[in-house]
């Protein structure tokens, strides 16, 4: 059997597939950040906490109300999205006339509060959330055992990402959104309620994070800190991608998941920092990011 760089090709495919799965989370999260940034010009530091909330709300729905995974998949993004709308209306919207950095500081503070409250309430050991019965088990692909659930994660996030891309790039609503990013006054003149558009956009971006949280709940333990560490990686993903385009953030997310997956095989010790190293290189070569707009 021939080997590629000392790794049997089958194993390599397996690892690439796993990278793609992690990439799904990066893509969903960086997509949400990109959409929010596009219209609000705010880097939503709360994004990680909202991802965590997604997982927790799914857990609560199951344990307090008895709503299973499939219901949660649709309900949770709405519920967490609504909390996002409330935050935007109450707090974030009051900062638009200020420097963007205040938005960053505010959302950072909110992230601390949300994480702290959940930690206080549920401890830090993590809560179990079972894989839904329909998706337990797995497929033997020959080169690896692929749990059905992981396959579902890739499919679900691809579908959601592409649907979002389609709505924003190809529909009238998306056209308004893009126009509002460029020139809110003009769009307002068309009779469109721009503040409401902004609020809903924030809610949608947060909903994407919560969706990622529900997807993650059965894989990782539902844990108050699950968002804190992933958000920094996603920030690096965003810097690399440049948030210039919706498709760009999706591609960067999946791409970096793959790169990270490969690093886990060839140099596991470096897999935690590989994305940051790539970020440094991109900053040197193409400071605006791979898909970033100039200036």
């Amino acid at each position: 059997m021939f080997e590629l760089l000392g790794i049997p090709p089958q194993a390599l495919f397996g690892q690439l597939l796993l990278g793609l799965i992690n990439g799904s989370f990066y893509a969903l999260l960086s997509l949400g950040l990109a959409i929010i940034f596009g219209l609000l010009n705010i880097i939503n530091f709360t994004h990680g906490a909202q991802y965590m909330m997604g997982a927790f709300v799914a857990w609560m729905l199951l344990n307090y109300v008895g709503i299973p995974y499939w219901g949660a998949l649709f309900l949770v993004p709405v519920i967490v999205g609504v909390t996002g709308v409330v935050l935007e209306r109450l707090l974030i919207s009051r900062l638009y006339h200020l420097d963007h950095l205040y938005g960053l500081l505010l959302t950072f503070g909110l992230a601390l509060i949300i994480t702290g409250v959940f930690r206080n309430q549920y401890g830090i050991s993590g809560l179990p959330y079972a894989i839904p019965g329909q998706l337990s088990g797995g497929q033997n692909l020959g080169f690896m055992f692929l749990p059905n659930y992981r396959g579902w994660v890739v499919v679900a996030s691809l579908v959601v990402c592409l649907a979002t891309w389609f709505v924003i790039e190809k529909t009238r609503l998306g056209a308004y959104l893009r126009a509002a990013t460029e020139n809110p006054t003009m769009v307002g003149a068309f009779g469109i309620n721009v503040p409401r558009l902004i609020t809903l956009t924030y809610g949608f971006g947060v909903g994407l994070a919560a969706f990622a949280g529900v997807l993650a709940a059965p894989i990782y333990s539902v844990n108050p800190n699950m968002g804190a560490d992933v958000i920094i990686v996603v920030f690096a993903v965003v810097v690399i991608g440049g948030m210039g385009s919706i498709l760009g953030s999706i591609l960067t997310g999946f791409g970096l998941g793959l790169v990270e997956g490969l690093t886990r095989v060839f140099y596991p010790e470096g897999s935690a920092v590989v994305i940051f190293v790539i970020m440094a290189i991109v900053l040197l070569v193409k400071p605006a990011g791979l898909f970033g707009r100039e200036a």
């Binding site: 705010i42 950095l101 205040y102 960053l104 965003v238």
Partner: protein, 327 residues
């Protein structure tokens, strides 16, 4: 070339300033020094030393944010790496405390140069994210590098003898050394702010494209202030390692970067004295509420939100507005 202005609404209080140190500032510095001299007889000296180290850290950070207009979300990297290097220098190389602190400071400055030269390629929130990401890289390095002792940190760092002569083991002796280091650090920052270089920084903060159009190579100035800020944060971190005889992962973790932002925001960014007060408040809060665990985090989050929503000028900024004098 990116021409986005970083027009943080800083130092609304910083109005007209006469050249040289205004009498008011001189009195405040004198008051601080006097308080510093009597504090160890009233309060627990180790606690006051902690406040001093964080006050210097916050002021170093504020030099970058308040006067350079650059929000770094990764300042723990310089604070923490200086702390590791000085702990290593004192423990393994047996350097005297002042040389250990110097070594730590140089390390922080070098790291600041490396990260800064990459980070200043982006502006505004991107800059914040890039510094945060690099700091995370430093954190991962600190977990794995053999000399940092992983999550045990470097422990039992000897306090040593100042200049090889005066024992730093008694808390009081060490205290006055730390007071001197921090006070000199604060004066250096004050001078930087009020130097020709500082004037250029304020110009860049207020309107960077305009400074470019006047022929200033603004990137070099931003890098210079970044390195200065990293070095001074390094002094604070290195001193802390000697005081607590410990360098640990806490000092390089991103929550530390968040705390220093909070101290500065609470005290008043762009003010001279705000970060000192902010540091004192936050350190006191952490110290006396340590029992309450998560509530400290929640409290810090609430302070963040309240400060951003209601008083962006910070405590000292508000005071300055009331008395209509820059502080």
């Amino acid at each position: 070339m990116a021409t986005q202005t970083s027009s943080l609404d800083l130092s609304r209080s910083a109005g007209v300033e006469a050249p040289g140190m205004p009498a008011l500032h001189m009195w405040i510095f004198a008051g601080l020094l006097l308080f510093g001299l009597v504090a160890p007889y009233i309060l627990y000296p180790v606690f006051v030393m902690k406040v001093l180290c964080f006050a210097l850290f916050a002021c170093a950070f504020n030099l970058l944010l308040g006067f350079g207009g650059l929000l770094s979300f990764g300042h723990a990297a310089y604070f923490g790496s200086a702390s590791y290097v000085s702990a290593h220098a004192a423990k393994v190389w047996g350097l005297t405390p002042e040389l250990a602190i110097l070594t730590g400071t140089l390390a922080a400055a070098g790291l600041g140069l490396a990260i800064g030269s990459l980070a200043i390629r982006r502006q505004g929130i991107y800059f914040a994210m890039v510094t945060l990401a690099f700091a995370q890289m430093v954190f991962f390095f600190s977990i794995q590098a053999p000399f940092t002792g992983g999550e045990d940190g470097i422990q039992s760092v000897p306090r040593g003898h100042l200049f090889g002569l005066i024992s730093m083991a008694p808390d009081r002796n060490l205290y006055f050394f730390v007071l001197a280091v921090v006070f000199i650090g604060l004066l250096v920052i004050y001078r930087i702010i009020h130097s020709p270089f500082g004037q250029v920084l304020k110009g860049i903060r207020d309107n960077e494209p305009r400074m470019v159009s006047l022929g200033y190579r603004t990137r070099r100035y931003k890098l210079a202030v970044f390195v200065l800020s990293a070095a001074l944060a390094g002094v604070a971190g290195a001193t802390k390692a000697i005081v607590f005889q410990l360098a640990s992962l806490t000092d390089v973790y991103w929550t530390m970067s968040g705390e220093v932002v909070l101290m500065t925001l609470l005290g008043g960014m762009g003010t001279v004295f705000g970060p000192i007060l902010g540091a004192a408040v936050i350190v006191t809060m952490q110290n006396y509420l340590a029992t309450f665990g998560d509530w400290v985090t929640i409290g810090q989050g609430i302070i963040f939100v309240v400060a951003v929503m209601l008083f962006r000028e910070g405590i000292v900024g508000v005071l300055a507005r009331i008395i209509r004098r820059p502080l």
